[in-house]
């Protein structure tokens, strides 16, 4: 990262919401029980459960998303059981084989708009039915928002949930960017819906303004049994669990629920993305994927990309032809709107 450029590389280039730093400072010297038994973690669990409207769910905090996926999946499955995921899933392409490292095969199917569909699950089941010579599909993994920033509608999640129940499959939702999804203009899901429709999900703090930390929410009580052992065995039980508890208290302490910092922060990121996306469309540059949350994938001429790179950092996502590429722009709770304006200015100048 060049410090002279503004970064749209990701939504984790800054530290955290100032409110979190204030809370850490205020509580710093108070002694608390270790390993997640502190008062803040207890309160954070209550706040999240209140959002769910489901007092039977269990809430656990871990430091990062790959840890969350490792712990959830390896604690759910017996050795011969496999995961079904979209081939674009984070566990498939960005976790260094972490799930396979716990011993489990991932069966992949092509995504549609970045999403797994009941039809995809059906294909996976049919092509993996030669038992016992094939691993047994047992858990379905989806991400919301997806790896390309798209959203599951309530109808889509209901359909996946039914498909899973009908086929004795567990449903796991990776919510690294669940804040962005739930704050999206098009979203019609609530945390309560998600708790009712999945066996387990996690909601990401890191990409919503925490220093680190993800909350795992287990809705299927049989999966919660002995879960703390798995957290510890995978190295995810922080001695100073208060660090996670304090942050999630800040993110969820507001009333009414919708005004929680978690949603405010991700909503702002979405709005910045929408502003940028609209300007891109106004300039008649196509979008490689719909801008539904805080990720934007414009298809731009390479010459423009090079010119933008003088002032901004972002990923070249995919080469399209010899003179065009897709880039990825990510906004966050901390995005400087002036930089959005500056970026739009460059775009407009290019088409002037």
């Amino acid at each position: 990262m060049n410090i002279n450029k503004y970064s749209f590389l990701d939504d984790y280039s800054e530290g955290c919401h100032p409110a979190i730093l204030q809370a850490l400072t205020k509580t710093n010297l108070i002694q608390h029980t270790a390993y997640g038994e502190d008062e803040y973690s207890v309160e954070a669990r209550s706040l999240i459960k209140a959002q769910l409207g489901n007092l039977d769910s269990s809430v656990f905090f871990v430091a990062g998303g790959t840890l969350a996926n490792i712990i959830i999946i390896s604690s759910c499955l017996r050795p011969h059981e496999a995961v079904i995921a979209a081939s674009s899933g984070h566990i498939v392409v960005r976790e260094t084989g972490a799930i396979e490292a716990t011993g489990h095969k991932i069966i992949t199917v092509p995504p549609e708009d970045g999403k797994l569909t009941p039809n995809g699950i059906q294909q996976a089941l049919e092509s993996n039915a030669h038992f016992p010579h094939m691993a047994k599909p047992r858990l379905v993994y989806i991400s919301n928002s997806t790896e390309i920033g798209t959203l599951y509608s309530k109808a889509e999640l209901v359909a996946l949930s039914k498909m899973c129940k009908a086929n004795h499959l567990l449903l796991l939702l990776d919510g690294a960017r669940l804040g962005a999804a739930l704050s999206a203009a098009k979203n019609d899901l609530t945390l309560k819906d998600i708790a009712e429709l999945t066996d387990v999900f996690w909601l990401g703090g890191t990409k919503a303004g925490a220093l680190l930390g993800e909350a795992i929410i287990i809705n299927n009580p049989s999966l919660a049994e002995d879960f703390a052992f798995h957290i510890k065995q995978r190295g995810a039980l922080l001695a100073k669990g208060r660090l996670l508890g304090i942050q999630f208290v800040e993110l969820f302490k507001a009333a009414p629920f919708k005004s929680a910092l978690y949603f405010e922060a991700t909503k702002f990121a979405n709005e910045m993305a929408q502003k940028l996306s609209s300007a891109i469309e106004e300039c008649n540059y196509p979008l490689w994927a719909q801008t539904e949350t805080n990720q934007i994938f414009p298809l731009l001429p390479n010459a423009l990309i090079e010119s933008l790179q003088e002032q901004f950092d972002f990923y070249i996502w995919q080469k399209v032809d010899s003179s065009h590429s897709v880039i990825r722009l990510v906004t966050s709770w901390a995005t400087d709107e002036k930089k959005i304006d500056q970026f739009i200015h460059c775009l407009r100048r290019s088409v002037a």
Copy 2:
């Protein structure tokens, strides 16, 4: 933890050094590269390497100690290779089988004063030589300070290192409390010595005043190859790696080296422990283990223990007979000296 009591349960009941919070606040909104490539992490690695005087070592940061042990051990060993450890080792008794979960057997031998000896290693080698029907010993694990607060002298570490080299064994030192060890009155080791005598070690931030974070230092270059993959695969690559980098900069930025916050903080903890320990001995209560660092194991009458429990939290370590037990008291960088005085007062009153 009862908030009306003062806790000597552990050295991670408070948050972090105020200097760390200040640094986090000051840098909070500056954008930095993710995944440990930020400037603070780069600087922290330099500062630690400067302490080692060994520019060939590689430094990596992870969130916690069990993660450090998992990643180091599983990246070093082939599937048939085993670890030798004292039966009191943290990986043996407090990590929920995390090492075995990566596929490796731990061969245990009884400790002497909490320490592994060349003789213990020799026994492990001799009783595990029926190849290929036995796992092959390949890595020796020690902790400094040990799980009961004792220290390895330089002569002891040299002897272990020689023993390992002579037997084609890797030497790993778990430094969860390495700060306490190096700040101890009796210590004659430096970080440079440890870098020269081990293949890999890690030094703990959590128990030395960081919010979280441990620094892994690889001195055997062959073990550093591809190490970043293992960090990522085990879920330990924090998106906001700056959180670790900033903290280790604060802990090690001082000049001269010895005045680094890392050593100042742990030295204070040791001094508080020494004060308490001396008072215990003056009261003629025996110590179950030597007080060499920040852990104290007095053997007390149960009646006194119960009385102390009205004001203080601590662990009952071991029942000795029907009327006596060993308790564990731990001091830290944040220990309130007035509470030490108050504890000593209770002890003196008991023998008055």
Copy 3:
């Protein structure tokens, strides 16, 4: 192995019962379904279940004992669960860390006469109760006959079974030499007893006269679910499963049950061991362990050992002092009684 010497090294130095070779030859060119669905395997399962008197048990065949232990243990346990075993257990000292390689810790306790006791289990539970920082004990592993040839009595097995049930522990009996145990003079257990008292056990063919093959018997129906997947995943599903089926038909096809080749063969081995053992005692050489089955552990002068080594192969089990050692002698279904006589002759001459 020196072909000019007679071997008492083990009970697998010869091929197989001639009856097995005849059956293989007779059925050789008949086509049969692969992967253990052949008629012989079906019949063998019936024959074994008839011996158990328990039609709810499930029977599976695999090629070897380590495979049996790997498959049983890894299919039974969740990742955080541990095994309790005697420190002399085969899985502890002779399987190259195979159980740990599946991710599970083994908690060891000292044996008494080679056996695990309820008291040993109690100790293991008490010293592994600091949850979730310790792996959770879940399965108890015993061998009958034990690694030193001793036997569990019915009372002992009942006590272990009760202890396990009371503590939510599964009980696994490794029967690599179960034939030797059940044919022993002192034995008061039946296969039916063992089926009732354990969750799962396996009975060994290899050491009872088969070319290879062990029968896994699952008595706790919840453990049988999907078991075939685990057999396949661990590489133990033989394409020509008939090879295992045919052998177990031969070993168990007799009526009445007690006259099955399985028991006849192991009984002969025990008788040969008894003859040898009695002669050793008559010569006033002490036994390091009771001769209860087909293993004999005499403590002999080194000079005599060297002289015996000119004619016989056997293991030096343990050095006792500068002039004495324990050796291990193993008899089998194929032992040549004339060689027993020759060995006894050497012993007698040594004390003449």
Copy 4:
């Protein structure tokens, strides 16, 4: 399997070559060293190495193909390393996730004629280069003959070998049906070529007329180090290793090399397949894959398939449309030529 039907289901429905049974019978009561150190195994290793013309290769025997793949792959790779394979590879679709169960990801690419190509490897490398967020490709897995019976030419294997060397990739050839490949009319490879072009391969006994057993041949000496530990740890070290040694002596003892039973047996299977395949083509039924070895994939009308099923057992491989399907027919060393004639008769009648 219906005993009234003749089976073309696979090449492992019968026992073994009569010569093997004779050798087992003849040697049955001779004592030999256990665990693969017997004289027959020693001789079998020499015979295979003589075929290779490469005395630096190491030869090991295991009971089955999945075991061979598990042991080879898990012993070669560090935890973060991945396998590249065709999506039709046996390890991908018929081994119950056995490779993932050892912790390793398999990166799949579409096959061409059942084969992996350098272009496929290139694609896998390019789409898995985002290090360290992706597992690192390290081993390429191919099967010869392939899962659909096709062959690698020498030119193709040379190209793959070069591609692997250029990219620091190990090359593993699964030879479950290597006999069929090397005996094929179109084949231009020798065992020596394969030894020179791969790091490790295995040649299958089970599908070439053994009761069980596969020979692993390691040509890259660094991979042979400590290999015996892995065999033992995965449960593949047979106590009576003689059973494998004796069989491979019979399969390879002939001089000159080409007349070895291993090649005679598989050549016969190929000839039977060719006869059947030619008749299918003469009847103008298309072949879904080229008949290059002992597997035939005719595309037939469902009505004919049903009629054939009255007399023969075979797999329906794939539905093509509402009235046609592909079936799989497999011949073997034991195929009864009269049954081939009978099958051809049915085909001809159908088009008469």
